[in-house]
Assembly symmetry: C2
Homo-oligomer: 313 residues x 2
């Protein structure tokens, strides 16, 4: 399976603290890095985790609260100092582009890369697509316009059975069609069934990021069937009314979304500083959705294996 990982740069809420940094994470798709949210400190966390600035091409911002976007001008300046080449695309709401672009243009005037600002609609839609992956923004329900992001691998090719390909002496030009499921017709007219020439494609995996949002059944609909769901759990159940009031979720609510959406794994994050640890969050979520884990700075999750533990813990 080709690499599809999630690196947690920060999973705290509101402000940097000694326990957590605010929201930022990297989806590492075959060594192409996609950043979701970019709080203050994100660039330093990339260094800590050994993630290469040269592999970062897309940054997706969920909403315009400081704890989700204030690392952006520093990161974009650093890319200029590192003489990054190629293109970097920042996907954010129009207000964000209006506020950040002049600052970045002033501070990183002499940049060596192409910086493109792509407007994201608060109502969502496809924001990125290539031959292997789509990234879709979808609406969340917070105090200000907010979107989540859903990464979905496209269907993959079947694996060729090398022994059988050689046995039938099949030419290279025919292989692409066979990988897509075609049967093979030999020069003397015999049909070799595709299932004899290939083994099934790897499953196409998916990952959804939901932060920040209050509990909403619409979120469960938007992320229905994804393999791994990162859902904010700012509070445990002791602060359920505060969660509602501030447009956030409890861990139990995140678990209800995971259950309703039929996902395979739930990662909790965006933790309030009022807790000394997130044991209560984990217990309350697991009572509803057993395959729940806690995000933490520095952790890497394998998005190909929704039932595995982290790669580096």
């Amino acid at each position: 399976m080709e690499k599809f990982e999630l690196d947690i740069l920060g999973c705290g809420s509101a402000t940097p603290s000694l326990r957590h940094l605010p929201s930022s994470q990297i989806v590492n798709f075959r060594d192409n890095l996609f950043m979701i949210d970019c709080a203050e400190g994100a660039q330093l966390q990339m260094r800590r985790m050994g993630l290469k600035f040269s592999r970062l091409n897309h940054i997706f911002i969920s909403h315009l609260h400081g704890d989700h976007c204030l690392g952006l001008p520093g990161l974009l300046s650093t890319l200029a100092l590192h003489q990054r080449t190629g293109e970097v695309v920042v996907h954010m709401f129009a207000d964000g582009i209006r506020l950040f672009k002049p600052l970045v243009d002033f501070l990183a005037r002499e940049r060596t890369y192409d910086l493109r600002w792509e407007e994201v609609s608060p109502s969502g839609g496809i924001v990125f697509e290539n031959k292997s992956l789509t990234v879709e923004a979808f609406r969340l329900y917070h105090r200000v316009p907010t979107v989540g992001y859903l990464f979905r691998e496209k269907p993959k090719s079947r694996h060729l059975n090398g022994d059988m390909i050689r046995f039938h002496n099949i030419g290279i030009r025919d292989l692409a069609a066979i990988k897509e499921g075609a049967d093979y017709v030999t020069p003397d007219g015999r049909v070799i069934a595709n299932t004899l020439l290939t083994t099934p494609a790897d499953p196409s995996m998916s990952y959804a990021y939901c932060s920040d949002t209050t509990f909403s059944a619409k979120v469960a609909e938007a992320v229905a069937g994804v393999d791994t769901l990162y859902h904010e759990a700012t509070y445990a159940s002791d602060q359920a009314s505060k969660a509602r009031e501030r447009g956030h979720s409890t861990a139990a609510e995140a678990a209800e979304i995971a259950k309703a959406a039929g996902v395979k794994r739930l990662i909790l994050g965006h933790f309030s500083k009022r807790y000394y640890n997130e044991n209560q969050h984990l217990a309350e979520a697991r009572a509803i959705f057993p395959n729940t884990v806690l995000a933490n700075e520095g952790l890497t999750f394998d998005l190909n294996s929704p039932c595995s533990t982290t790669i580096n813990e």
Copy 2:
């Protein structure tokens, strides 16, 4: 002596790294905190060093490179989330106010404190004054307009000799004049010399911050006679031509400034990431100016005692 300390939040150049954070420091004057420069990460470093957000009222920015100012929107947002009251004044160039004010107004709309933006002139001048302290901006010589900041305690009152004050039964209303050096005239007309009633005032201390700047004799003039000088030393002598080209200084050049200015102590900072440690900087500077020390994140220097080591090392 009343508290006059320097807390180093960050003393690296260019970008946050695993060894140093970019420029930010706190002058703690009698538990009033004055920040100089505010790089990304400054707010978290304040927490690490136990410096209270509630005591921070003035922030002075030296110039508009990202590694000296990009912590500002995050810090000002955090003050709003902490429901800071009172006034916070940001002193910076007009371009900085134009770029940062809209961002902060958008992200920290609902702030509980008064935020004032005070324009600093690139040619310098007094930027703060109260009954005990002045802060003066002065010109530095970098690739873009840049100023240093000079903190100067005003002359202090003489110390009353309690025994003598009681012996002559001097009334409270007369004490202020005596502390300023007046003699005392007894009800029966005798003159008691001030030197019998008081001991000398503590010396008034001073501190100057010079980052970023190329080597210039004008800097030595501006900081002549200060007690403690923080001077950038981005490079050691191996990179002298690079220092000149980039508008920076070597450690030896910083020491030449300290020597020419007749300061008591030199603190080196703004270190390039190309070095694994700053031993070379220190040796080269000490050969010219012996009382040289290295800044480092988390260190606190006592500005009342220019010959002491750090408070917390």
